[in-house]
Amino acid sequence: MADDLYSTLGVARTAKAEDIVKAYRKLAKKLHPDLNPGDKAAEDKFKQVTAAYDILGDAEKRRRYDAGEIDASGQERPQQRYYREYAGGEDGARYRSTAGYEDLGGFSDLFGDLFGRGGGARGGAGGQRFAMRGQDAQYRLEIDFLEAVNGAKKRITLPDGGTLDVTIPAGVDEGQVMRLKGKGMPGVGGAEPGDALVEILVKPHPVFKREGDDIVVEVPITFDEAVLGGKVEVPTITGKVFATVPPGTNTGKTLRLKGRGIKRKNGKLGDELVKLTVVMPDRIDDDLKAFAEEWRDKHRYDPRRKLREQA
């Protein structure tokens, strides 16, 4: 490819049109293939010179060549497409950077976070936008037995001094984990925060125990209540009630108080199981001793017969 058409023809850039014609004709005469049969080099040179003349000999083409609009072969030279033509478009988005004005966030409460890495409709900073949901935060909360049974509102004090309000639903059980949506660590890059996971620990109660949705209470009864039966005051999770102890009650007898247990999710209630224990008076006085001796002589019975037979 000829580098410069003027040097190909051996003329100055400022040469007049007739000088170009003259120069071309002189060269052409010397190089024309028909005048130089078999001379490949001359043919090539002729083609170059002719190509140069095709352009420089034509006023309009010469102007365009001088202006750089066409190259030495007469091809349209593509105009330089400047980078700015692409920079604003999709193709240029990879290069656009918004790294430098994240501080815009300090300028506007509402709009500040729209710009920079955090937001924006289109990615800056090389098109890389980073967003990650916040981490879940794990907490443990110890509550009283009755708070677990009846529900409660508790406040957790966080290590950083903040607080977290937790509504304990009635009937929550030991080891149950409550998920508080969005109360975990903040998200990165506009992503949603994590959740707070609160594991519930229930302190044991001196009286009540829990078996599933039932409450179990051990209730001592007197010797005479065991023999004669009667109404006995029994604690429940909602207050005291009177339970009927049937005559002739043994230790280990269990009364079921319907609906006195823990509220299930479906709204039904568990029961309270009252385990009765016959308790002798602290001191066996002479009256009781005399009565038992007299009673034994007349009403002998054998509660261990089965035991003997089956052992």
Partner: protein
């Protein structure tokens, strides 16, 4: 997608060696990563770097500074355009209010 050869043949005075240096420096990040494929924007960027170095006479260590600033300007322009597009969607009286507020805030010395 354009190849190295395409770029070199279409952007005058850019050689394969120069182009590879620019890619290695991260000044040009080929649109297609796996097979090195350049986009039209990559090509225009090559021409820009060439102009910076050849025509304007900046040194190699000055080029990344310029590119960084240019990229930031285009980033800013894109954000500004997004904002203006969003403002254009607003009802007429809201736009008028916004315009008034902006005018009020513009430093007097400007322009």
């Amino acid at each position: 997608m354009l190849t190295e050869r395409d770029i070199v043949s279409r952007v005058q005075h850019v050689t394969v060696t120069r182009l590879r240096v620019w890619v290695r420096q991260g000044w040009i990040r080929p649109a297609a990563k796996e097979v090195q494929g350049f986009s039209e924007a990559d090509m225009a960027r090559a021409a820009l770097i060439r102009d910076l170095e050849d025509k304007l006479g900046f040194d190699e260590d000055q080029v990344p500074v310029l590119l960084n600033l240019i990229d930031q300007i285009h980033g800013l322009r894109a954000e500004l355009k997004t904002m203006l597009d969003a403002l254009d969607d607003l009802p007429e009286e809201v736009r008028a209010t916004v315009k008034m507020r902006i005018t009020k805030r513009k430093p007097k010395s400007r322009r």
